[in-house]
């Protein structure tokens, strides 16, 4: 907000008023720039080691000498309908940067942006075709047979299914972040309620568009908290427009939020019909390419992180899995924050990242 000078004799001088107007104009210009430009994000050095169709596998350049590094590398799997660089948002506030400094060898799987030719891609393909191939290359490059996986949002769903289907593939540790796995409760989440309603026809959406447009997914997510997302966020920026730290953080996050991508039609249909409507994973009736996904077979060590104010994946969607998996070493961890905020928000450096490191570190040697 603009700050006025202390009025002299109770009256602001003409020059004070001019200065205020000038400042307000400057702030308006900054506001406009932040809305329409991209911040410098995803700056941590990395090398591309594998590609397949749109998928890319990156290896982040380690910053800790090899002898001080953890022996078990960390493999990051993000959701399929957003860009994964939210994990490496901006220098000085990047989960990847933080974990590299803690001595992890980090790999990131970017699913890429599906084109019209990918409209039939399903979770079957992501879990049993793309992920195994990426992991094969990752094992060759890292020279490690054992590894940890961190899956976030739908990335956590994919990782969970993979860990249950291929328990002997080398997954030692599985970190789940805001994992949408259990869709039994339709009351707690707007998405569940909307998509489970008989009038919601995912098949027709896919039939019409092929891939589901990013704008549609984005609007769906924003409509869960319409006032906060369409108005509140911009008011918060205006209120803090003279605070460089807040502005920088908002700009980086807005750059990520604006970078919307479509979701493969087949995967979307499956997500709505088999997960949201029929809750097949939890009911034990899910099959991928004819293979039954049994959560009891998941035996890796599990750290399940839940955001208590998550309106996209409410806690009830991630809790019950702990009773169904076969792991002996499993922990449920609650963080105060929202779906993205717990990992990319201002409090992440204190409230989330150190806990992930504290759990993973002793299990990575």
């Amino acid at each position: 907000m603009t700050q006025t000078h202390a009025p002299q004799n109770g009256t602001a001088t003409f020059f004070d008023v001019c200065a205020d107007w000038h400042k307000a104009a400057e702030n308006l210009e900054t506001f406009n720039r932040l809305l329409h430009t991209d911040a410098r994000i995803a700056q941590t050095p990395k090398e591309l080691i594998w590609t397949l169709n749109k998928a890319k596998l990156y290896h982040y350049v380690p910053v800790v000498p090899e002898e001080k590094r953890h022996k078990i590398p960390l493999f990051l799997v993000f959701a399929i309908m957003n860009r994964p660089y939210v994990l490496d948002l901006r220098p000085g506030h990047s989960f990847v940067e933080y974990m590299l400094e803690q001595g992890y060898d980090i790999y990131l799987l970017d699913w890429g942006i599906p084109g019209p030719e990918d409209k039939n891609l399903k979770f079957d393909d992501y879990v049993l075709e793309y992920l195994p191939r990426a992991l094969r290359k990752f094992k060759t490059v890292s020279g490690c047979e054992q590894f940890s996986v961190l899956g976030w949002c739908l990335g956590a769903l994919i990782s969970t299914m993979y860990a249950a289907l291929r328990p002997n593939d080398g997954i030692e540790n599985l970190i789940l972040l805001t994992a949408p796995l259990d869709f039994a409760d339709k009351e707690q989440c707007g998405f569940s309620r909307w998509s489970s309603h008989p009038s919601f026809n995912a098949d027709r959406i896919v039939q019409t568009f092929g891939n589901v447009p990013g704008e549609m997914i984005d609007a769906g997510a924003k409509m869960l908290k319409p006032v906060d997302n369409y108005i509140g966020s911009y008011l918060a920026l205006w209120d803090n427009i003279e605070n460089p730290r807040t502005v920088e953080s908002w700009h980086a996050m807005n750059t990520w939020v604006r970078d919307i991508i479509p979701m493969a039609g087949g995967a979307y249909q499956q997500l709505i019909n088999e997960f949201y409507k029929e809750n097949r994973l939890m009911e034990g009736t899910l099959t991928l390419r004819g293979e039954h996904v049994d959560l009891k077979n998941l035996t890796a060590n599990v750290f399940n992180v839940i955001a208590d104010a998550d309106h996209i994946t409410p806690p009830c969607q991630s809790e019950r899995v702990m009773d169904l998996i076969g792991s002996h070493d499993k922990e449920l961890f609650r963080v105060h924050g929202g779906h993205i905020g717990i990992m990319a928000g201002r409090g992440a450096e204190k409230n989330t990242w150190p806990h992930l490191d504290a759990w993973l570190g002793p299990r990575s040697n």
């Binding site: 060759t140 908290k225 319409p226």
Partner: protein
């Protein structure tokens, strides 16, 4: 501004307006969250979306066939042609990835054999 008014004790209408705005926004936000979480909203949203998709389908079909026909008349590939080509490229990429896996496997096996031979040679020399 509000800080300034606290310092000087002057009435600050901006701060008052901001407080009113925040209070109003909070209530409005809660009301909207409750509203979009209702069964009737879910029903209305699903029906509107479905009606829009159904009603626009014939127009889209006409547009698509007109575009395809125009491209065919101009001897240019259609969207479907490009899509099929991209699918074939992906299949080729899969095959290349399989080959890459085999080469990586051979390299790893070669390295293992070389290491074993080196070790055996070393122990033979030690015996001598």
């Amino acid at each position: 501004m509000s800080e300034n008014s606290k310092d000087t004790g002057f009435f600050d209408p901006t701060a008052m307006f901001k407080n009113m705005r925040d209070t109003g926004m909070g209530a409005w936000s809660k009301m909207m969250i409750d509203m979009v979480g209702t069964e009737s909203y879910a029903k209305a949203q699903g029906e509107i979306l479905d009606a829009w998709l159904s009603n626009s389908a014939p127009f889209r079909k006409v547009m698509e066939s007109a575009t395809t026909q125009t491209l065919a008349n101009l001897n240019m590939p259609s969207r479907d042609d490009i899509t099929r080509l991209a699918e074939r490229l992906t299949n080729i990429e899969m095959k290349l990835d399989d080959l890459d896996a085999k080469i990586d496997g051979l390299c790893a096996a070669g390295t293992k054999v070389a290491a074993t031979k080196k070790k055996a040679k070393g122990s033979e020399e030690d015996d001598k």
